[in-house]
Symmetry: C2
Subunit: 211 residues, 2 copies
DNA sequence: TGTACATCAGTGAACGCGCGTTCACTGATGTAC
DNA sequence: TGTACATCAGTGAACGCGCGTTCACTGATGTAC
């Protein structure tokens, strides 16, 4: 790799880092090509040697955010596999609370993951897709332990539902609007929600109730 | 009321209606003062006789959306008060599904309710606040029947949690992204979620699990 | 190692577009007598 | 009812701002011999 190519990689990294800081501080609308150029010390036009356009930059930051979220959830799982049902429920609770912690500590980056819209054509690159699916592995293993009799499809659906539900509590709660759970109660309510669903499953539901 | 004042009210109504159509079709970013002026047949500047600024317009549309959502949920409740626990659970399910139906049929208007950010100072007018709280009345009555022993504060918290959870499933599901529940399964999963939580409550939880 | 040339990153002024809001002016409507 | 005046909605050109992206040019870096 030539010195030029190395420099370009360094510049690109610096650019993404600067974009990440900008989004973290001001949201995606606060991303200005001129600010970034000034921050990493290059000319305005040079940005377009490093990156296709501003959308690519937001996507790259999103990928990093997803990576950091993944790491935060993986840290919870680092304690080893849960062995019994009780431990599996506790693990699901811990993951949900870690998810809340990440969202609370990275509000704008986290929100950008869900709210940012690309231009019309809206092609989400393959790597971004793969990133998203990775997150589910943290949920699926403990969930399978809670619901041993379910098949993969039902489990996958339940996993998405549980994730979405927790996401909803976090998203509305962190908005500080009136329909949400007050911030101070979010962790408790997430725990209650996850435990209630698990208890409901134990009480005979299989995630797909009869009509 | 003079003819002039009447005309102004009519114009204001037409303006809000035009704004509503524009948001429904193109999202809040598609709201253009010039388009609206053309649509209601007045000069650009005349808009500012009807409305303070564009933010007020979005807020007014939001208020209308909230009103229509309220009506949609009220239609579910029109069948009369649920009498027993079973009926109360069914009512909660029906309301949640109606919520999904509204969101699905009014995706951009619904999303604007949650994603639109006012300028920095961010004053949400009192009437908007009151609107939001009204929605909860549809949930609270059946919920009280499901959980008769809970006090008002715990009930309120559980109501917010349940609403947020359903909201999350709807919001991520309608995004058509990979982490969400597939559209075709949303109703079923909402029903499962609500029933599971209610079943969990029956199984002994009170919404505030012990540490 | 040295020289000549080619490549391509770096530059920043300029382009192009979009758009909310203002403002001096006009003319219709309302009011007072 | 009629007249004179005042008010204020209506007008649309112009203001002001922001900003992503391009492009002709330059100079440093890499390559071939």
């Amino acid at each position: 790799m030539t010195a030029t190519a190395q420099r370009r990689d360094r510049q690109r990294t610096a650019l993404v880092a600067a974009a990440e800081r900008a989004i973290a501080e001001k949201g995606p609308a606060g991303l200005k090509a001129r600010d970034l150029a000034a921050e990493i010390g290059c000319a305005l036009g040079a940005i377009y040697n490093l990156v296709q356009d501003m959308d690519e930059l937001v996507l790259r930051v999103g990928s990093r955010t997803l990576g950091r979220l993944d790491a935060a959830l993986a840290a919870v799982a680092a304690e080893g596999e849960p062995r019994d049902r009780e431990a599996a429920v506790a693990r699901l609770v811990a993951i949900a609370i870690a998810y809340h912690g990440f969202a609370r500590d990275n509000p704008r980056l986290w929100r950008t993951l869900f709210e940012y819209r690309l231009a019309e054509d809206a092609e989400i690159p393959d790597w971004a897709v793969a990133d998203q699916l990775q997150l589910f592995r943290h949920i699926m293993a403990p969930l399978a332990l809670v619901l041993p009799q379910a098949d993969a499809a039902a489990l996958s659906l339940l996993g998405r539902t549980l994730f979405s539900a927790v996401h909803g509590v976090v998203a509305l709660g962190l908005e500080d609007r009136l329909v949400g759970v007050p911030r101070a109660d979010i962790d408790r309510q997430i725990e209650a929600l996850v435990r209630l669903v698990c208890a409901g499953l134990a009480a005979g539901g299989d995630g797909t109730p009869l009509p």
